[in-house]
Symmetry: C2
Subunit: 507 residues, 2 copies
């Protein structure tokens, strides 16, 4: 058998190769969204296919299996970092090897087809066309979970893919808390007489001003370091290829500058996480975020806890006024603050405000859980969706296009992914509570000095990449295990103030 | 030994892999010039290094050597296309294998260092700092030529790398013609009383107008096909990853819109070549241009023969007026035409006008040839440069920064590359002469109908990619072997008209 030194050397070469492939494929994908000509998809697809095949051969190859076995036998001699690298690759290897190749190929074809069918079904408001695909995807995913995690409930197995360690049991507690505290809160706000007037926003917001605002915002967040670039895409996202090469994107709507403003803050939060991973983790599988939920906690932290705070408005409003002197001349900072915190239950998740967003996620979680448990049939999904939207948000869904068909996730087979969006928000509220015992967050934000805040997050979370599991990172940053009451406390306090709710609103 | 069917199958897989690597590395390189953050070079360099290594292992591997041998033994059974593919890969393989790996690694290090030294030397006007690198590079290149082309003169061997089949003998004839006809022409123009006033150009040309102009120009050239995208870089260039994914770039100078205008036409000419390669050559080594000179003939064709023609001004000037209504209101089409054809001998090659450009190349060719023949010492280069600039262009070179140190090519080891710039112009003049016997070029250009022109070039040149050698492509498109008198005839006729030269100017 190979000795440990040789194995570690081979392992390093293996990771270096994968780093290069992942860099290349990442840039090709980013380029395809930002710069590539419209009809270039087929030729690029062929090239990406070949590179994916190289990656598959490396990560699922017999040689890699042996290498991981050797490292496993030397487990006790590995450093913390090496043990974490082994954990990540072993999970990846098992996933690749335990699912029979032929079944995986069939599944990839199914997903490929499902995407096109979903798009058409959404456009034509035809749930029945997409239904058989949901059926088949869920069936396959349950089968796959049996291969790679035979001891787990299948939905827990998939939750673990996005949020290692997360279970239905924890999520049930989390969402029960949301249901009991946020649903009534939304109802109280709807009944309130203190509604927020946002009519001043209905103006034209020139591109040059929006671009200038994005630039100044990135400076404020410390993203002007030559390691992060801003691009323009249909839907904003963040992608990182190394800690010195992170990209965020935004979209400028001429009729609403706040979309770009908050997408830059949100993606900027993701970017800071990628940028602040410890250099020692570079070119290894541990670079990048620990989980979807932890990553989302960083973007929501900046977007909502910082970006929509009263203190931050004091910093960003003068910059907005500088970028749009004409448009803002009769608007107060207070009005801006209330505008960006307006609550309005609506149909579409991606357009939801801070308070109602998590209720959209709750609808999806309940349905996914029931689907996997066989407690609901696929053809019952639209009705169940609509009834929960009514119950949680007081909203009547007019059609499936604006209801159960709105998201692409199920067509992509991403069951178990949605909860991480809500977890991110909840984690961030718990983090800031703990952060407040170390630094004076509000004063720092009011001064526009975000550096100590980012440093705190780097020390507790960013630097570790995937080396620590989410539970450990929560312990570091929250001082305790996940507890969603921080989140509901925060939301209640904030929105009671904004909407000037009194006890009489409760009735 | 492997049978032909198996060999061809393996060969196809081999090319498919290289297509993917080349696509990935091409996009990474394009992205690095257009979108990547400033400090991302190191991490990307590591990834590119690993991918290059994969490419080297494939193209220079023993398995590939055997494969090429098998195909070689079946030469008579190969199709024209297969034989051409074999020719290209065999040349690449020989180049990779005949140079000892250790010597090649040393050379790569030398070139890497030379780039930084050259940049510093240029900035500090310190030729002596860069001189030892020229010495060492030429010495190494002569040695390498002995490995991969032992029967050839070393400079001819390197010429052949950029322009297959080209020799000093042909270039000597070409440049002798330029010397005898263009040098006196430039002198006559300088003595002429009909100088061109370009003071109207000294205005601000807003970005939005320049972007609109670039867009309309691309439409005019048929580049609005969803297969070609325009980017913005410091120096314009063209790169193609597949016939459905070609990128051109430009640079907008607010003080001179003609720079972007002509860079888009020039790069657009390159792009049309890449876009119109026959689909059957895709994903093979034959996709893309046949040689540097042939590629340059396409860009110069559009830039000068079309773009600076009197007829094209009738089409583009109204568009320019639409993009810049204020700036152009007192300017005539005639003035624009004369402005873009103004001759003014100057120090810097990349800023030279159509007429004097080839004389800059002649200076470089003469020096490269003498260096390789040992007829000049490296430390004599600045003096020789300055004296030729005086002789050919009547220009006094103030310092080496604006003289012998201006170009990056020698630091990159690209000896033998410069002549292709002048060859491209000369080829294009010969091509248009032949094209005129098939279609009425001037009327088509005057109508803004460039499609039949591009179709003609596609039929004679573009479609063949690298399948045919430059000599064959010249035969197709010029109806005869290379003859530079078409070029000098064209220049004489054009500039006699523009500068209204009479016989008395000759004295």
């Amino acid at each position: 058998m190979m000795d440990l030194t040789t194995a570690l050397q081979k392992f390093s070469e293996f990771e270096h190769k994968l780093y290069a492939y992942s860099y290349a494929m990442g840039v090709m994908s980013y380029d395809s969204e930002t710069a590539a000509p419209e009809h270039s998809a087929e030729g690029r697809g062929e090239a990406l296919g070949m590179l994916s095949e190289q990656v598959y051969q490396l990560t699922a190859g017999a040689e890699t299996g042996e290498l991981l076995d050797v490292l496993q036998t030397h487990q006790s001699e590995l450093s913390v970092q090496q043990a974490a690298q082994l954990r990540v690759w072993k999970k990846d290897y098992d996933m690749n090897c335990k699912i029979p190749a032929q079944e995986y190929i069939e599944y990839a074809k199914l997903i490929n087809k499902a995407g096109a069918v979903w798009r058409k079904a959404k456009n034509e408001n035809d749930f029945s066309a997409f239904a058989p695909y949901i059926e088949q995807i869920v069936k396959t995913q349950k089968k796959f979970a049996g291969y790679f995690a035979p001891d787990k409930d299948p939905y827990d197995a998939w939750l673990d893919e996005y949020e290692p360690g997360m279970t239905r049991a924890q999520l049930d507690t989390f969402f029960a808390n949301l249901r009991s505290r946020i649903v009534p809160m939304v109802q109280r706000i709807q009944r309130s007489e203190n509604q927020i007037d946002i009519s001043w926003l209905h103006q034209q917001w020139p591109l040059a001003g929006q671009q200038q605002l994005a630039k100044e915002l990135m400076e404020l967040m410390g993203l002007n370091n030559g390691r992060c670039a801003l691009g323009e895409t249909e839907h904003p996202f963040t992608t990182g290829f190394s800690r010195d090469d992170v990209r965020i994107t935004t979209h400028y709507y001429l009729e609403d500058f706040t979309f770009s403003l908050f997408s830059v803050i949100h993606e900027g939060g993701h970017a800071l996480y990628e940028l602040n991973t410890a250099p020692r983790l570079q070119r290894t599988c541990l670079a990048g975020g620990a989980s979807m939920g932890i990553h989302e906690s960083q973007s929501r932290f900046y977007e909502n806890l910082i970006g929509r705070s009263r203190e931050f408005c004091g910093v960003i409003w003068p910059i907005i006024c500088k970028c749009f002197p004409e448009q803002t001349k009769d608007v107060s900072e207070e009005t801006f603050w209330r505008t960006i915190n307006r609550v309005e239950p609506s149909l579409i998740r991606t357009e939801a405000d801070e308070l109602t967003y998590c209720l959209h996620i709750m609808v999806r979680y309940e349905l996914e859980k029931k689907l996997f448990a066989g407690e609901i049939e696929v053809d019952q999904l639209p009705e169940a969706w609509n009834s929960m939207m009514k119950e949680y948000l007081g909203i009547t869904v007019p059609d499936d296009t604006h209801g159960v068909l709105q998201d692409t996730h199920w067509a992509m087979g991403s069951f178990g992914y949605f909860p991480s969006y809500a977890l991110g928000s909840a984690y961030s509220a718990q983090m800031i509570a703990n952060m407040r015992s170390d630094i004076d967050v509000d004063s720092l934000v009011a001064q526009g000095n975000l550096e100590p805040i980012t440093n705190w997050l780097t020390e507790k979370i960013h630097q570790f990449g995937k080396e620590q599991l989410p539970a450990q990172l929560l312990q570091n940053s929250c001082g305790s295990a996940f507890d969603s009451s921080y989140y509901t406390d925060y939301l209640e306090k904030k929105y009671t103030e904004i909407y000037k709710l009194t006890d009489t609103d409760k009735s």
